[in-house]
Subunit: 156 residues, 2 copies
Amino acid sequence: MERISFQDCYADDLSHCYGCGRLNPDGLHIKSYWDGEESVARFTPRPYHIAAPGFVYGGIIASLIDCHGTGTAAAATYRREGRDMGSEPKLRFVTASLKVNYLLPTPLGVELVARGRVKDAGRRKVTVSVDVIADGRICANGEVVAVLMPEGMKRA
Amino acid sequence: MERISFQDCYADDLSHCYGCGRLNPDGLHIKSYWDGEESVARFTPRPYHIAAPGFVYGGIIASLIDCHGTGTAAAATYRREGRDMGSEPKLRFVTASLKVNYLLPTPLGVELVARGRVKDAGRRKVTVSVDVIADGRICANGEVVAVLMPEGMKRA
């Protein structure tokens, strides 16, 4: 059975995100899933996503943490409300703040695994901490404060 | 006279950064310059760098702050040492941590202006705060803690 990612449950008109939108043909297509109480996204940077040769660019790691964090915030809220992912009204979170700590140079050419945990969940604001793992080592960690998308962004 | 950006002074073998490397043909080519005591980078996101339609993706804003912050760290260190940008030994900073606050949805289709200020400068660690301005409004701000690139990253 093919699994449906958190981001695949976003409304069509909010599925153009460069990081994770299924309707953005030029995007990164980051996809997140539950793994018990944690959320997981697996992403292999492209060969040109370089910081220095051999290592992944920090902005890509930030993007992975960002989209995995907002996706996890939406999924956790559906779960907390006892609703199926993607049921109406559809939930879409955006990032209020993002923090990334680069702990080790992250090797290019291997799959990155982002593991998220909900630290704090309110009705409109969810804080998610994320580890980014390469070759079994945590190369970066971070935190996303995600808030429900303001109505003004939906009407653009 | 054409101005030389901070990033154009990086060593050739450390000029492949996806965010700012002049030798990465697929990269964003973020370029930073002094403007008095502040540093400035101007960057227009591509049409597909979308969060929701009409607004810029947060990961691109994080990338702009990241590369502008590390570039400013290098430039500030040359300046503090009384050396020309790019003189030997060449300086290259990487990001130890990155914080971004998304204050307003950032409009797509206009030039973003990143303005940096050095908050704290040590010999190997420089902290830079950055505002990101679109249409005259600060849409995001953040902070980069930049450290001299570890030798292990240079030898990869």
